[in-house]
């Protein structure tokens, strides 16, 4: 290699640290965050159940629960990232599906504060388990945003399904969906306890 070539190569290597202002891995982070909640059936059924229960409860719970859940879920993720341990996370996630499914099936209507507390309690487990699973090389902020948005959209899907609760046939459908969620939760619980 000529001297000029060597100099050119050395110059090309000069900036060892490029503090580029554009953050790297933005699109990948956002997509990974969007996909992550959908990739786990335990998370999906519980999130849909939150929306279903909100629809069964009616206003103001129909919007209080989806507002409260992401915030408390993020708190659970924050606890995980700070190294704070939560015992039996997988059991908690499975139980969330069981309890929320039974609430929908039995059309339970506790006071709003109690319903919000139940949902918030289980949100901690979901956030703790899923909020910290950032793929390497992706934007943490956009991953977090995608994760929260996907969770919110799952709530919205549950609420939309729950709209059917207004009609007699739809009411049975919603209760059947609740039964399905509870059943799935029992399977998750079995797996969490046995394995």
């Amino acid at each position: 290699m000529s001297r000029r070539g060597i100099v050119a190569v050395l110059l090309a290597l000069l900036p060892i640290v490029a503090i580029a202002h554009e953050e790297a891995g933005q699109a990948a982070g956002f997509v990974a965050g969007l996909v992550h909640p959908v990739s786990g059936a335990d998370h999906v059924v519980a999130m849909v159940a939150v929306g279903l229960w909100g629809a069964v409860l009616g206003p103001p719970a129909i919007w209080v629960l989806p507002v409260a859940f992401p915030l408390v879920m993020a708190l659970g993720g924050l606890m995980a990232l700070l190294g704070m341990q939560v015992p039996a996370v997988e059991v908690g996630i499975a139980l969330s599906a069981v309890v929320l499914g039974v609430m929908v099936l039995a059309e339970q209507r506790p006071p709003l504060a109690v319903a919000a507390a139940i949902v918030a309690f289980f949100a901690i487990f979901h956030g703790h388990a899923h909020g910290r699973e950032l793929p390497a090389g992706t934007s943490a902020l956009l991953y977090s945003l995608g994760f929260v948005i996907a969770t919110g959209l799952l709530h919205a899907a549950g609420i939309l399904l729950g709209v059917a609760h207004r009609w007699a046939a739809g009411r049975q459908l919603v209760r059947a969906a609740g039964a399905g969620v509870a059943l799935a939760g029992l399977i998750f619980l079995w797996r969490a306890v046995v394995t």
């Binding site: 503090i19 933005q26 992401p70 924050l78 909020g131 902020l141 977090s144 945003l145 929260v148």
Partner: protein, 203 residues
Amino acid sequence: MAGGCHVKPRRVAALLAAPALLLAGPAHAHLVETGFGAFYDGLAHVALTPSDLLLIVGLALFAGQCGARTARFALFALPLAWFVGGLLGAAFPTDASLAVLTTLSFGVAGALVALNARPPNGAVVAFVLVAGLLHGFVNGSTIVVGASSLALAGATTATFCLFAILTAQVTALSAGWTRIAVRVGGSWIAAAGLLMLGWLARG
């Protein structure tokens, strides 16, 4: 030393150059190059910086929720603070990461939206000014290399336009599910901020 160590000059140069690679300094931040000039580079910079976008969206939703009068003040306070902060950042650039503060700013804005908080006008404008100064300062610090004040003007213009469009929409919303959707959006911004704080703490 005859017949001793005989090293070719080219090899000596290469040996001297190798450690220089390890001493190489960092390449400082640069703007996205749109090809349309510094103004549009600055404009694109805001659009491609998630923390800036989330702050503008959060503040626009918040100001819109507080009513037209508050939103009017905030509409001019935010770009002004952004520009002044940018000038300060360009004058006194820092390499210190202010990510915790910028994350806190949009997280708090999102939480205020989720809570449907209605503080006094002065408090809203003060919060908007502080957040605008902070994000503008970070913008000014990072775009100072190779960029002109025209880029800062582009970033400020993007801030003004996005804020104006969003806050006007929210102000015009009637009570109902659309207002609830705004609060849900705020909770998403706050939740993303909480998670981001965890990532920053983790390092």
